[in-house]
């Protein structure tokens, strides 16, 4: 009796590890979980790391296409990293809905000729020179991964998952 109990205690954790590893393989191949995370020991096997998965948020509005910083939408770094690691459709949808529900103003400091960049509207912001974004019609959330070609040494972004939220 004692021997079989000991055997169980000795093998429980290795068995748990095997289950987690197979689950990680499943998530990586079917749900785009980065191979580096999830406890499957896929680190140093692919270039597709969590940190190399930029999240692009684009708002279509009366001012045209504007860019928002994902860190303004998801302030909790742990949550944002989780989305980059496992970018499921419901997670991207959550970002899109949160973005559309927030107040945005043009970030004149970061403004470039190419892009209209937004920043989060602060509470009690009454500066008349700050241009607020109105009539948001659509929020596009795209998550990318790196793609590298060794023959040409070219590095590019490939869409991993996307969600387009139409605002009524």
């Amino acid at each position: 009796m004692r021997m079989s109990r000991d055997k169980l205690l000795q093998t429980l954790i290795p068995a748990l590890m095997v289950m987690v590893c197979f689950n990680q393989l499943y998530l990586a191949f079917t749900k785009d979980l980065t191979p580096w995370k999830g406890g499957g020991f896929g680190m140093f096997a692919t270039t597709d790391r969590m940190e190399r998965r930029p999240v692009h948020i684009t708002l279509n509005s009366d001012l045209g296409k504007c860019i928002a910083d994902p860190r303004d939408v998801i302030e909790n770094q742990l949550e944002l990293s989780g989305i980059q690691a496992l970018p499921t459709a419901p997670r991207l949808e959550r970002i899109a809905i949160l973005t559309s529900g927030m107040g945005w103003v043009i970030d004149t400091e970061s403004l470039t000729e190419l892009h209209c960049i937004l920043k989060k509207k602060q509470q009690g912001n009454i500066d008349a020179s700050v241009q607020a974004l109105k009539d948001i019609s659509e929020v596009e959330v795209r998550i990318y991964k790196f793609s590298f070609d060794t023959h040409s040494d070219s590095l590019s972004l490939r869409v991993l998952n996307e969600y387009v939220h139409t605002v009524n």
Partner: protein
């Protein structure tokens, strides 16, 4: 030679004393130090570690108590849940090890149970690491290492030393890489600057990694009656010595030293002392060996 002989005799004497309870105590102590220094220190786990570990380090009786390890393990597991998708793999392995310690202390022969668990955790970790690499076409054709040498700052000196990737190229590559990584820049392509020999080095590194990790997996997972199991420590030590001075992941190196030490009880007692030495000297792995070598070569 006399000195080497004396060192070996001393190691032998010391290893002879590492038996039974003393061995288990040392495994527990090393695990506590590992947890305190190299666990994921983000919020859910931080509090648990800072309260629980110092208590056990101060009171030996507490550190040897199965009840302490069970509560500690359970809290670590709960604290780890929010980090499941973002924690590094060696943090997973550390959590498994803490849980294994908690369970093994309830068995009739904790030393033997710890040794078996350490052996299986090392074997499984390297088996899945090898499987992932075999399943990844970009690893097998060398793309992974090629790209890593050009963009990962931990490998820059190695790339310069072995393939002559210049410091100027490295700066340019970082700029391209960072602009694509940013969520705000909206740059969607760029070209990296490489060197002539890099692809050969990358392919060699890929096959070397498959070989050494596969060897560790097999050696640790085959039953003890197989000849391959007798030399378990050799590939593990080769891996640690050749990998961590280049890819400095101190947490993983320390964890492997703890697991290596724990499993060595069933194998070669001399080796257990070698693992203790590695455990203590892991901070030296952070020395910029390649940079030192580059500077020496530049003198000639």
């Amino acid at each position: 030679l006399k000195l080497v002989n004396r060192v070996i005799v001393q190691l032998g004497d010391y290893s002879e004393r590492l038996v039974g309870d003393r061995y288990v105590e040392l495994v527990l102590l090393m695990t506590l130090i590992l947890s305190l220094l190299f666990m994921d220190h983000r919020r859910p786990l931080m509090g648990i570690l800072y309260i629980f570990v110092p208590v056990a380090l101060l009171f030996t009786k507490v550190a040897k108590s199965p009840l302490y390890w069970t509560v500690f393990g359970a809290l670590i597991l709960i604290g780890f849940i929010p980090l499941l998708n973002t924690a590094d793999n060696h943090i997973y392995l550390t959590v498994y090890w803490i849980l294994a310690v908690a369970l093994c202390l309830w068995t009739l022969d904790p030393g033997r149970s710890l040794a078996l668990n350490a052996q299986l955790l090392i074997g499984l970790c390297f088996a899945f690491a090898t499987l992932w690499k075999l399943l990844s076409p970009e690893f097998m054709d060398g793309t992974f290492f090629y790209f890593t040498f050009l963009t990962d700052d931990r490998f820059f000196d190695f790339a310069e030393l072995t393939a002559g990737v210049s410091p100027e190229s490295r700066l340019y590559n970082i700029e391209v890489y960072e602009s694509l990584k940013s969520s705000m820049n909206r740059v969607d392509s760029g070209t990296l600057v490489s060197s002539e020999y890099l692809s050969n080095i990358a392919v060699f590194m890929a096959y070397w990694t498959i070989f050494i990790e596969g060897w560790i997996a097999l050696a640790f997972l085959v039953p003890n009656r197989f000849k391959l199991s007798k030399s378990r420590d050799i590939p593990l030590l080769i891996f640690m010595i050749t990998t961590y001075p280049i890819a400095t992941v101190r947490g993983f190196a320390t964890l492997l030293a703890v697991l290596g030490f724990a499993q060595a009880q069933n194998q070669n007692r001399y080796m257990s002392v070698v693992y203790i030495i590695i455990f203590i000297t892991v901070p030296l792995f952070s020395l910029p060996f390649e940079r030192i070598l580059i500077n020496i070569l530049n003198l000639f």
